[in-house]
Each structure stands twice: as structure tokens, then as C-alpha cells.
């Protein structure tokens, strides 16, 4: 298996960074991690072994760890990381399962981080984490975006906005 193809998404993501200020933030790390995760899932589905790609996934997951600050999110992420590190590279079924679980847990972790930053009135941080979430199909995403923006000038509204955003993630 050619080992160049899996790094393409990573290289493109990094090239994108280079054009935007050469410092990686949570959006960049998430983007790189999900690109690696999707590539690993495809390899598992195609029963194609690519140790270099799997190693890239572990590395990007490790980089992403540093972004997580909410206690419960950190706890969840440690479990995900443990499963990822324990998966044997040649066992495609386990790899596929671990990748699918990681994808799902990532969304949960992003939601927890969103709420954590929003509750601390860190609007920018909350916006960054919210941008990573794939909201449920019929959620009213527009209301949440506008509410978060309005929190900058109405900090007394933190609690109702927390409820709105939490509901948005679960709807």
C-alpha cells in the first residue's frame, strides 16, 4: 500500500494553516484528526493495512487531547484514546469499531466543550467548538448561532443560552 495518499488530507489541512497564520487551533487539530480517522475507517472497510496511516491517527489524536479542558470530556477522551491505542493494526473489525466509536464520542466531547466555554462566557471558544459539531438534521442551528453571538452583549443570558445550545445538540 502506498503510504503517500493518507497524508494528503493532513498536508492540505496544514497547507491551509500555512496560508492562515501558521498556528494550529482546535479547529485545525479537529480537522486533521477527522481526516485521519476517516482514512483509517476506509482502510478498515477495505481491509487494507497501513501502519503509517494508523500511526498518523494516533499522533493526531494525541495532539487533539491538548485541546480538551472540560473534566468530563477529558475523562471520555482518555477512554477513547485507550481503545484506539489498544486496537491491533491488523484487526480490521476492531479498527472499524474503534473508529466509529471515536467519531461518535468526538461529537459528544465537542458538545461538552461548547457548553463549558459558553458557561465561562468564552464566546470565541464556544463558537470554535460549536463549529465542529454536526447538529441533528432538524435542529434549529440558526437560533443557536444568533444566541451565542448575542451573549457577547447580554452576559446575563448565559443560563438560558446554555439550555438552548444543549437542547440544540440533543434535538
Amino acid at each position: 500500500m502506498n503510504t503517500l495518499s493518507p497524508i494528503i488530507p493532513v498536508v492540505i489541512a496544514l497547507a491551509f494553516l500555512a496560508g492562515n497564520g501558521v498556528r494550529a487551533d482546535v479547529i485545525d487539530h479537529y480537522s486533521i484528526l477527522t481526516a485521519e480517522l476517516q482514512e483509517a475507517t476506509l482502510n478498515a472497510c477495505g481491509e487494507k493495512s497501513d501502519p503509517a496511516q494508523w500511526s498518523g491517527l494516533l499522533q493526531s489524536a494525541d495532539h487533539f487531547s491538548a485541546e480538551i479542558t472540560a473534566p468530563f470530556a477529558r475523562e471520555l477522551w482518555q477512554k477513547v484514546l485507550g481503545d484506539l491505542q489498544a486496537a491491533a493494526p491488523a484487526d480490521f473489525r476492531v479498527q472499524a469499531k474503534v473508529c466509529a466509536e471515536m467519531q461518535a464520542q468526538l461529537q459528544y466531547i465537542c458538545s461538552l466543550e461548547l457548553l463549558s466555554h459558553q458557561k465561562q462566557n468564552d464566546i470565541k471558544g464556544a463558537q470554535e467548538w460549536r463549529a465542529l459539531i454536526t447538529l441533528p438534521k432538524h435542529a434549529n442551528a440558526i437560533e443557536g448561532a444568533l444566541a451565542l453571538q448575542s451573549q457577547a452583549t447580554h452576559s446575563s443570558q448565559i443560563q438560558p443560552i446554555t439550555q438552548l445550545l444543549a437542547q440544540e445538540c440533543l434535538e
Partner: protein, 358 residues
């Protein structure tokens, strides 16, 4: 949390160069992506591509007319024509294929996100590229109004749109209704191995395509683009990614191949279409970034991710047949990327005060 990338940039640039070299075998991977920094840029890009398409359809009319004359000179006996004038005929069919690809594969597909996405231009998409035959019409898939008359007075109507259902499958030997079975041989790179296009049909289809192209150019020149047009086009066209993916799957991997999309892989089309959608978003991004930098960045990365994803589909395809599980996973990933981007673009539209019509 911020991580410095500076120490690794030199290495990355080196790797990036290697990757580009590796990808250079794909015609759809080698070109620099076009950009538009404002809504006028979208129109400029559209008119630039259409000028090349128009030149290609003009030439198609010349080549198909010449082909028709050669076949007529043999009184419609294709086998005799092939025997007596083989090189000339193959050259003309090849020229028509090249013109077709310039007009559609490397022309229209690169502006489809705009033409099909902008309400004032969308009818051209149905006529030229997406309209199905009358008997396949559904609520979500309109029939093409494509109609023209052959030299013998016979009317062609209800057979689907110009590019996908009429010209391409005829030139690549898949449209049984409008090809003439004849042993051509060769490697199939100039013409199908066992058929030639029906001359009167391909000539009339070419004239009609050229006429429609002129109308599209005129409508595009008259179009006054707005932010609303751009947001609506992005919201309308981004979800089509998974549909194009289904087309690719059917054309390449289904047991009974669809017979459509023979000229180039649908992967190339996906890249062209999504490139034009991405360009349309970038034209309105500055106003979004001013309101929510994170949302702006994620949407732009979402489009970069889609382009990278399409590229990877091409690379995987080139390595050999994909497993069913891989194809299904690719489909799910395509769907997931579109499902995530569309609500984000709708949020972006709301933040800048544009009401999405979709």
C-alpha cells in the same frame, strides 16, 4: 491551546510537492483552484468558463457537420464510409469527443454549482446536464425540455438532457438509439470499438447544444449576482455531493453499469462542481468572518475537506477495485460532509442577514 507549526513547515512543503507530483496523473488534481473574493468574482469566473465552453460547442458544430457530410457522401453506409475514409472519420469523432469534454467535463462541470444553484440560471442545468428522460421524471428529478429536429424532419424530444443522456453516451457508444453498429476496432480512444454516432443525430444535437450555450452566455451576462444568490446556491448544491457519488458508483461499480458518465470519471465532475460551490461560498465569506470567525474557518475547511475527499476517492479508485464496504463508507462520508456544511452555511447566511430561500 495553540501549537506552533513553524518547525515542521519546511518538511511539509517538501512533502506537499511530492504529493502534488504523485497526484499529477489525475487531470483534475493538477490545476490551481480558482477563487473569488467577492460576488462579482463569481460572475467573472462563470463568464470565463462559459467563453471556453462556447468556443468548444462552436467547434463541435463544425466537426459534427463535417462528419455528417462524410457519412452522406457514402449514402449513409457507415461500414463503407469507415472502409473508404477511416482516418478522417476517426479524427472527426475524436474531435467531437474532445469538444464535448471541453464543453462539459472540463467546462460545464466547473460552473454547475453556480448555474444549477442560481435560480435565474437553473433551467439551463436541466436542459443541458441534469434533466432526465420523460419516462424517468419524478417530483425531484425534472425531465429535460431538450428538443430538436433532425434533417429528415424527425423530432427528438423527451430523451433526456443534452450532455448526460444525448451527446456523451452517443459519442462513447452507449446510446443504443442513436449509434450505428459497425466494427471500428482500435483501442476505443478515438471512437467506440463497435459503433459510430448516428450522423444526423449528432449534428442536430450539436447545433441545439450550441444554441443553448449561446442563450446561457447571454443569461449569465445579464445576471446581477447578489449575496442571497450565492448563499442559496451553496445551500442548494452542497447536498448534491452524495448524489454525484451515487452516479460515480453506478457508472463504475454496479453490475449493470448505467452507461452514463463515460467520458471522464464522475470523480472529476464532483471535483469541478464542488470547486464552483466552494468558490461561491468564498465570495461571501468576508462578511461571515466578520461575524463569526470560527464558523467562517470551519466552512472553508469543510470545502477544503470535500475537495481532499474527492481527490482521495480518485486515488483509491486508481489503486484498484474498491470493496462494497469501502464504497458504502465513502458514500456515508460524502453525505456526512454535506450534512455538516449545509446548516453551517445557513447559520452564516442568518448571521449576515440573508434569508435562505432553500
Amino acid at each position: 491551546m495553540k501549537t506552533s507549526l513553524v518547525p515542521s513547515l519546511n518538511r511539509i512543503c517538501g512533502v506537499f510537492a511530492v504529493v502534488l507530483l504523485f497526484c499529477s496523473g489525475f487531470s483534475y488534481g493538477a490545476e490551481k483552484a480558482p477563487t473569488a473574493s467577492n460576488i462579482q468574482g463569481v460572475k467573472d469566473y462563470l463568464l470565463g468558463v462559459e467563453a471556453k465552453m462556447d468556443a468548444a460547442t462552436d467547434d463541435f458544430v463544425k466537426q459534427s457537420s463535417e462528419y455528417q457530410k462524410v457519412i452522406e457522401s457514402y449514402k449513409g453506409d457507415y461500414a463503407a464510409a469507415l472502409k473508404g475514409d477511416r482516418e478522417h472519420i476517426l479524427k472527426l469523432v475524436k474531435a467531437m469527443r474532445d469538444d464535448y469534454m471541453a464543453a462539459d467535463s472540463f467546462g460545464y462541470e466547473r460552473v454547475e454549482g453556480i448555474v444549477a444553484g442560481v435560480d435565474k440560471l437553473a433551467d439551463f442545468d436541466v436542459y443541458l446536464d441534469s434533466g432526465v428522460p420523460k419516462d424517468k421524471e419524478t417530483k425531484d428529478t425534472p425531465a429535460a425540455a431538450t428538443t430538436f429536429t433532425l434533417k429528415n424532419g424527425k423530432v427528438v424530444a423527451g430523451e433526456g438532457c443534452t450532455f448526460t443522456y444525448l451527446i456523451e453516451p452517443t459519442l462513447w457508444g452507449k446510446n443504443k438509439k442513436h449509434i450505428v453498429s459497425v466494427t471500428v476496432g482500435g483501442d476505443g480512444s478515438q471512437a467506440a470499438k463497435d459503433s459510430l454516432p448516428e450522423a444526423d443525430f449528432i449534428a442536430a444535437a450539436g447545433v441545439d447544444m450550441d444554441k443553448k450555450m449561446d442563450e446561457l452566455v447571454a443569461a449569465s451576462k445579464a445576471w446581477e449576482p447578489s449575496q442571497e444568490d450565492c448563499f442559496n446556491a451553496v445551500v442548494k448544491m452542497t447536498p448534491t455531493l452524495s448524489g454525484y457519488f451515487d452516479d460515480w458508483k453506478a457508472s463504475r461499480y454496479d453490475k449493470d453499469r448505467s452507461g452514463l458518465f463515460s467520458a471522464v470519471s464522475r470523480v472529476s465532475d464532483m471535483q469541478g462542481i464542488m470547486q464552483s460551490v466552494s468558490l461561491t461560498y468564498h465570495a461571501v465569506d468576508a462578511s461571515v468572518a466578520a461575524k463569526d470567525a470560527a464558523l467562517s474557518k470551519t466552512i472553508k475547511q469543510g470545502f477544503a475537506d470535500i475537495m481532499s475527499f474527492v481527490e482521495r476517492v480518485g486515488i483509491r479508485e486508481k489503486k484498484g477495485p474498491l470493496t462494497v464496504a469501502e464504497i458504502e463508507e465513502l458514500h456515508d462520508q460524502a453525505q456526512g460532509k454535506a450534512d455538516k456544511l449545509v446548516p453551517q452555511v445557513e447559520q452564516a447566511a442568518a448571521l449576515v442577514g440573508v434569508k435562505s430561500a432553500n
